[in-house]
Every structure is written in C-alpha cells, then in structure tokens.
Symmetry: C2
DNA sequence: TTGTATGCGTTATCAT
DNA sequence: ATGATAACGCATACAA
C-alpha cells in the first residue's frame, strides 16, 4: 500500500538516459539538449518523480532547513517570531523545524544541538540557558543567529528588541501623566529581556528622584497577571508596567472583575502589542514590538550567513509607544488605592 | 571557521575498529564486546561525534520528522495544535516541520507534497483545499492524518472537533436563556468546520420554530469581529454566535467602545476557548475545544501509522460549553437593539 | 552535450 | 563478536 516513490534511476532508465542527465535536467542545468530535456521532464512528470530531499541533502551537504528554538510555543511573542521567520524562509525555499523547550532552560542546549544536526542553521530565540552554556552551544552550532540575547562575544549575529529604551519610554509616558508611584511586574528571572528592563528602570528611578519605582516578581503568563491583583493593590502605586501584554491582560481581567476602574483608579501598561492588546477593555497601552519582523530579520541574517555574505552588525529594534486607553492621568489622591481601605487586599 | 563535523569513519579509525562496529555501538546493539564498546564511546565523546541525521535518514528511509500544515500560524487554534503535536512528537524523538499556507488554499497542495518529501509523515490541519485536490494529496502523501476535515474515503485517520454538536449546544444554551433572535457570524467559506456549523444551525432552526436564526458572513480574525458591529446591531438579534473566540473578542472590544452592554443588551458567545477568553471583559462564554489535545492525538495517530499499528477509528472531540459572563437572559424588548432607534447603525 | 565513476555518512547483509 | 561491502538516492568531477 505504501506507494513506491520513483528514484532518479527509474526516470533515467525509462527516458533512456543516464542518471546524471536526469539530475542535470531536474536542476535546470542549461548544458543539456532541449529535446532530451523535455523528454526527461515528460518521463519525470509521468512517473510523478521529484528528487529525494534526503539524498539531496546528503549529497549537497545542505538540507534547506533551519531550526528555530523558542522557550514557549504558547507565548504569542514566539509564535509571531516563528510565523515571520517561517514566511520569509518559505519564500526562499527553506523550511523551519521547531524546537520548544517549554520553559525548561536545562533542555535548551540539547534541543539546539540536536536540531542543528538536522538543519543547516539555527535561530535561537530568547534562550534562557546560562551564559557559559550558551557560549558552548553557539560554538558548536554555527551558523546561528540570536534573538533577544547577547552573543557572548562569539560574533554570532544578534538582533534584539531594545527593551531598555522601550521600558524607559513607557515609564516616562506614565511619569508624564503625573504618576509618581510605579510598579513593575517582573518576568521570569532567566529572561534576559527582563533583566534589561530592570536595569533600565533603575536608571529611570535615579533620574526622577520624585518618583517611587518598585518591583514585584510576577511571571510571563496571563494567569500570572490575573493573580497579581493583591500585590498590585497592596503596593500603593497608581500605575503598573507589566512584563508583557499577557500579564497586563490577566491583570486587566481581574481588575475589571474587582471593579477597579482603569485608568481612573489605576493605569496599566503592557509590552509587545500583541493582536489582542487593541481589543482589550480598556484598550491596552503598550510598547509595540514588531515580532513578525523580528522573525523575518532573523531569517534574513541567517540567509546571509548561509550564502556566505559578510556579517552585518547587530540590529536593535526599538519598540514604539502605543498609547491607548488603559493609561491616564494619575489619580489626585497620593498613595494610590491603599488609602481606600476597603479595597486593600486581605 | 565552519567547525568540521566528525564522521563515523574518523571515529572508527581513531578507535581502531570498523565503521560497522562504531555504528553498532552508537545504536546500542548488544552484540559488541563491552570493552570495545566503551573505548568506542570514549573516542566518540572525545571527537564530539554524533551520527549524521541526514545520512541516517537516507540509509534508514526515515528522518524522524513529520510535517504539519496549517492555514494560518497567526491563529491561536493552529498554534495550539502545533504546540500539542510538537510536545508529543518531541517526547518520541521526532521533530516537526511547519508549513503555513497563510490562508491561501491554492498553495496547500504543493506545500503538503513538498513537506512530505522531507518528512516521514504529514498532519494536515484544517486544509481548505477543494475535495478533489485533497483526495489527490492524501493519495500521494501517505501516511497522513487529517484534522478537522473528512478523509474523502481514503481511509486516512481523521480526528476532528464535533463542531456540529458544539454549535448546537451553544445555540441551545442561548435559546435556554430566552433568546429568540440569534445571529451566527460565519467564518471563511472554505472552512469545513464553518460548513458543519451552518448545517447544524439549520437543523436547530428547524427544531425550534419560534426562534429566528440568521447568518452573516464575517471571517475568522479579530478584526473581522471588530468590524461586524453594524451588521450585528442592524440584525435586530439579542445574541450572537461568533465563528470563533477571535471574532467574538473583536466584537466585544467594539461593543465596549460603543457602550453596548454585554450581556444586558446583547449576548455574545465564541468558540474554541482560547486562553484569552477567560480574561475578556466580560469573560467570554464559549465552547471549549481541547486544541493541544487535538495536536497530541494527531501525533499519536501518526505515530501508530509509522509503527505499523492497525488504524484506529476516527476520533471526534466534543466541545464543552463554558458559560461565562458574556451571555445572559434575553432582553425583554423583542426585536433587540434596533428598536432603540438611536443605536441603530448608519 | 552526455555518460561513467565516485562520494556524501550511515546502516545492514553477509562473511569470518 | 567483528569486519568488508553493498546499498540508500542524488550530485558532480572527469572522461569521452
């Protein structure tokens, strides 16, 4: 039942030529007699022949496949990066093999290396593994491009979102609205972009002595935001910067349920500008990160490497503030919601 | 610079054995002397050797890779199916190659066939291509499992969501709440699951003579729902069943902006129960579809085929009603919002 | 322009 | 238990 797949040899025999000629025809080599070529093409079509990708891969030393490692396929950020990279790669005749470490950093190295064995190159997206491990992986998987992580001096092309500038812009947006007590809901400790944001916010705090900028560990998922209500209300802040839109979204949902008005009582901002942000209630102020572009650029960098082109410098995409309805002027009452007493958690 | 990858021959030479022995050791064949085996393993480790996946694929006739075709990687439904399938496949040592037809049905056949050339098997998820084309693809890509599409009598394993039962349950939930004028915001015409819903709703309409069930073309994206406001308000219905949560979500966002109260003025229900549904405002009533399970089951079916196990019957997953806050009792006022006059669009 | 012969890296068959 | 050798299906250097 398993339908036999014709080989180049069968086409050659049926067409009365050598396998080399068939190969030349299939690869569009112009050095072959037009009549012969068309006959070969006919036979090939009749047999429904197409060259084996695997055999071709072995012979040529390249598979036209690239691997993409992400920390979590459930995260819209990485989904979009995959989507963008896949579209660009497809246009170039490449396919993408996915590797999802499901937020287990200790699996990343093995996943990456194994994936590289099947592919011509790798895209490492927001790898969470420690620096020394990453350096080793980079050394043994070349060519590889990094997304949202520094190349540890390995010279691997890296492109990243300038989270530091982004979170600063966002904080200043809030400060400009009169907020003086801000809370940052931090993402996973292993996230490099989270670290960048924390550092940047420290700088902002130093620059604006009159604003109090606190931080609380939270996470990167919707539910982390949903569960952060008590921490948020207990913090006595008037504005919160969530690690990402997911967290902001979860928080918004819980806030709406609890009857806390946004932005009148509390301003909420996200990060990433995922598709849902615009349709949240209220529509979510966030920093727009061109996620699909990130994937597309990652592919293009990789393609350059595969084509032996000279390396181009790192690319830093700067997020853009998208001010919507979830942020507004700070409430007059200093100290935020905690002075309400009845809304204080517990 | 491109770090040389050691071959089995080098390991064999350095260990002073034949390639066959190295191969046996690497594959854990027990027929090899323990001392020799450990020496080979040492040399292999020292050289950082691991068998070439490509060469192995050619020799064995299998690549331990499966392809997954989806209509749109931007759609949470397919993202989750990919995620579920990938996790299951990874556990079994397989990898997934993605193919995204970006909602261009005419590309599906080629994408599927090309992907199959690189893989051992295929998962076709909600293919939009016409029946005859699908039949041809199925015939030439075996083994393949279908998700949310009938196997055209080809005997390919199929698993699907019972959208007919699901939409019926949802409609009856609404009818049970007293709604007598329902609107279905239809998805893409090429979607088989949309067709199933339409048929099922026709049956429901026949069964409940006192309810008026209308339909409007809409789409499958958030923005399609967002733009459906006029159609919805103009329809004079008290409850709308969206093609999926995305559409419901977009509609909800616009409804909130327009000041239409949900569910007091209008009930809105989605389909799929994506992660965001629970956190919508108001939280979205929807039919829960176990999307990751769908992907996992698809992989398991495929794995059975790959292992030569007997085919198991088609699996139909029945969605489960998740009644949240976006649906409620029908407004007293018959005819819905249009009687308001001032809210009538245009 | 076309064919012959060889290599790609591995596994499997068949000796020994 | 181990080794020589022939596939696997294709591309290419070289010869004709």
């Amino acid at each position: 039942m398993s339908s036999r797949v014709p080989t180049i040899a069968e086409v050659a025999r049926e067409a009365g030529v050598s396998r080399a000629t068939v190969s030349r025809v299939m690869n569009g080599r112009s050095t072959v007699d037009p009549d012969l070529a068309s006959r070969v093409r006919e036979v090939a079509a009749g047999l429904n022949y197409s060259p084996s990708r695997v055999a071709r891969g072995l012979s040529l030393g390249r598979t036209q496949t690239v691997g993409l490692l992400v920390p979590d396929l459930g995260n819209p950020m990485f989904q979009q990066v995959l989507r963008g990279a896949n579209q660009a790669a497809t246009r170039a005749g490449y396919r993408i093999l996915v590797a999802d470490s499901i937020e287990e950093p200790h699996r990343e190295a093995e996943l990456a290396i194994e994936a590289r064995r099947r592919c011509d190159a790798l895209i490492l997206c927001s790898p969470r593994m420690p620096e020394d491990e990453l350096a080793q992986v980079l050394a043994s998987t070349h060519p590889v491009v990094l997304v949202n992580r520094e190349p540890q001096g390995t010279g691997a092309p890296a492109l990243s979102v300038d989270y530091a500038a982004g979170i600063r812009d966002l904080a200043e947006h809030l400060i400009g609205l009169g907020h003086e007590r801000l809370l940052y809901l931090a993402g996973p400790a292993s996230s490099a972009s989270n670290a960048a944001r924390v550092r940047s916010l420290d700088a902002v705090a130093a620059q604006y002595p009159h604003v109090c900028l606190t931080r609380a560990d939270c996470g990167s998922m919707i539910d982390d935001g949903y569960r952060a209500l008590d921490v948020v209300l207990g913090s006595g802040t008037t504005a919160v910067l969530a690690f990402n839109d997911l967290v902001a979204f979860g928080l918004l949902g819980k806030l709406n349920e609890a009857g806390v008005r946004v932005p009148e009582d509390l301003s909420v901002a996200g990060f990433d500008d995922i598709a849902f942000a615009k349709y949240a209630t209220p529509s979510l102020t966030t920093m727009s990160v061109p996620q699909m572009d990130l994937g597309r650029h990652a592919w293009e960098r990789l393609h350059q490497l595969l084509e032996g082109e000279p390396e181009s410098p790192s690319l830093h995409l700067r997020p853009r503030l998208v001010a919507r309805s979830s942020t507004g002027p700070a409430a007059r009452r200093p100290g935020g919601l905690t002075t309400d007493g009845d809304r204080t958690p517990r």
